[in-house]
């Protein structure tokens, strides 16, 4: 299905957020996710279903002062 991830639209097969992170090969520790502007707690990744045209932000920590 078609999602917009971090501003780019992308075709994915994952149906849940957890599956998506695996598909994207992302280390799920220390990433934060906004689904359609709402934060999804990591405990909910597995049970969070994705729908056509969902907008996701996948965020991680980087060096900062």
């Amino acid at each position: 299905m078609q999602l917009v991830i971090n501003g780019q639209s992308r075709e994915v097969s994952a149906e849940s957020l957890a599956e998506l992170l695996v598909e994207l090969q992302l280390d799920t520790s220390h990433v934060a996710v906004e689904l359609n502007q709402a934060i999804v707690e990591s405990s909910q990744f597995a049970t969070t279903a994705l729908n056509e045209n969902d907008r996701l932000e996948v965020i991680q920590f980087v060096g900062g002062g």
Binding site: I5, N6, G7, Q8, R10, L24, Q25, L26, D27, S29, H30, V31, A32, V33, E34, I39, V40, E41, S42, E57, V58, I59, Q60, F61, V62, G63, G64, G65
Partner: protein, 256 residues
């Protein structure tokens, strides 16, 4: 023993370290370790989906260092609050270095939006460490709003100019009921020592470490600078005097 206490949590080190702008994770870690710091700031950014880098967190020992996420990039209260919440969702404790800097050029903090965000985040249970201009009245408002510290700037971020806001910071320290952490602009150990001698409770340093030729050695140097300033503050510095005062006895035999 002399400890720094921020919202009930004790720290032996009064030097906080920022993790930005280092040439490598190795340099960053070397500097952190040598500095003896116990609090390190981090920022949030989008993952690059197409080639996800391994998280820099992999290099930071969470048992040794408290992660202090900042809200850098936020231009108003709403963005800052959003970043703070994301940091918590990403598994950090609810501590946040609150930065609201609408001006991308000088990166100076916004007193209005910073106070607004602080009030929201305190209500949500965050331990809020706001980065502010050296404004004593704003510092009071933030303390009344329940922030855990105030973090007045010494000089604009990354300028290495030292404590250029000396007059105002002295007033903030005199009136503070929470720890005062001098942040931004400290470019040398002597700057950090000066802030501590004035009675600051801690300092935060990043650029001076990251741009040093040897970030590890510079971390050790700043550690000593901070300790030197703190110890001198506790040992009671003398006053400046207008007239010279002999350190050798002048009475003598030369002229009688």
């Amino acid at each position: 023993m002399d400890q720094l206490i921020i919202s009930g949590r004790s720290f032996n080190s009064r030097l906080m370290v920022g993790t930005g702008k280092f040439s490598s994770n190795q340099a960053m870690v070397a500097s952190m370790e040598a500095s003896g710091c116990e609090i390190v700031t981090v920022a949030l950014r989008r993952v690059d989906i197409d080639n996800p880098a391994d998280s820099m967190l992999a290099h930071i020992d969470r048992n040794r260092y408290l992660l202090l996420p900042n809200t850098s990039g936020a231009r108003d209260a709403e963005e800052a609050v959003r970043l703070a919440r994301l940091s918590r969702a990403a598994g950090c404790e609810p501590w946040v270095k609150l930065e609201v800097t609408p001006d991308p050029y000088y990166l100076l903090p916004d007193p209005i939006e910073t106070l607004k965000a602080a009030e929201i985040l305190v209500k949500e249970g965050f331990t809020v460490l706001p980065y502010i201009n050296a404004d004593p009245v704003l510092a009071k408002h933030l303390q009344e709003a329940g922030t855990a510290t105030v973090m007045p700037l010494g000089a604009p971020i990354g300028t290495n100019k030292g404590v250029r806001t000396r007059e105002q910071i002295a007033i903030i320290i005199e009136q503070a009921i929470v720890p005062v952490v001098v942040d931004a602009g400290l470019g040398a150990p002597s700057h950090a020592a000066e802030a501590m001698e004035m009675g600051a409770d801690a300092v935060l340093v990043n650029t001076a470490l990251a741009v040093a030729r040897d970030p590890g050695a510079m971390g050790a140097a700043f550690r000593k600078g901070v300790e030197a300033g703190r110890e001198a503050y506790l040992a009671g510095l003398g006053e400046q005097r207008q007239q010279a005062e002999a350190s050798s006895p002048l009475t003598g035999f030369l002229r009688d």
